[in-house]
């Protein structure tokens, strides 16, 4: 399965450590850009650039309140990552479940001898 190479992909959006830090900063709630800048000691243009990428994939949304633009996390858009992780867990579990069944079969056969 090929991934989009641009910012249209949630996976690529969160592949950047600074963007992950911004998402983390928003877990506790809606914040204006200035607060994120202060919290993370990144420059305002840098934060704005990352917020734009995160907005494009829907991971953050923005609303105006007075002179401020407030950004908030949209966790539902992390669903593709959740689905991906679930797939990884399933693949791993499938193998270990096969091993489990095999161990039980071996022991059953041993007992029947």
């Amino acid at each position: 399965m090929a991934r989009a190479s641009t910012t249209s992909d949630v996976f690529n959006a969160v592949a950047d450590v600074h963007r992950r830090e911004i998402l983390d900063a928003l877990i506790t709630g809606e914040k204006p850009v200035g607060t994120i800048v202060n919290d993370l000691s990144m420059s305002q243009p840098q934060v704005s650039k990352h917020l734009r990428v995160l907005s494009e994939v829907g991971l953050v949304s923005c609303r105006a309140e007075g002179r401020h633009r407030l950004y908030r996390l949209e966790p539902a858009h992390l669903q593709p990552m959740h689905a991906w992780l679930a797939k990884y867990e399933r693949a791993l579990n499938d193998r270990l479940d096969r091993m489990d069944d095999y161990l039980q079969d071996l022991q059953r056969r041993e007992r029947m001898r």
């Binding site: 996976f11 950047d16 877990i27 992390l78 693949a91 579990n93 479940d97 096969r98 039980q104 071996l106």
Partner: protein, 166 residues
Amino acid sequence: MNGTRHGSATIEFPSEREVLVTRQFDAPAELVFDVLTKPEHVRVWFGAKELEVCEIDLRVNGKYHFVGFVMDGDTATCSFRGTYLEIERPVRLVGTWVFDGKPDAEAMETVELHEEDGVTTMTDRLTFRDQASRDSMTWAAADGVHADQGGQVAWDRLENYLATLA
């Protein structure tokens, strides 16, 4: 008894370079160890179908090589290989681990078994050279091992995000 522990493996990412899998089996540690290290056993359970190649030279500096369809729905065979570095039946097995599709992402694998009341807890720790190697490998595993190289997955604090999904 079959199936009661199905789906119970836990996956953790203790550091940026590691993947730690824990799973319990209702079997003595000796048997679990043998099922992990004897080709006649590994051949049967490792892949979605019986492995095409299952070579195991269980000695320090001995090599192993598995080839087969690893997951259901795979369209190509996958090849894993490595070298055993420490063998301590039935409690510990250390070796290198590499997926031929991603030879740069070689990892160190440490399997430890701990038996208590007839239940063996297996921990399987893969330690990669760096985070990029680990992420490229876990990425590949989830995508049926045919993923492009482009993706790099952020595992950091992923759990936090997932917790907010509920």
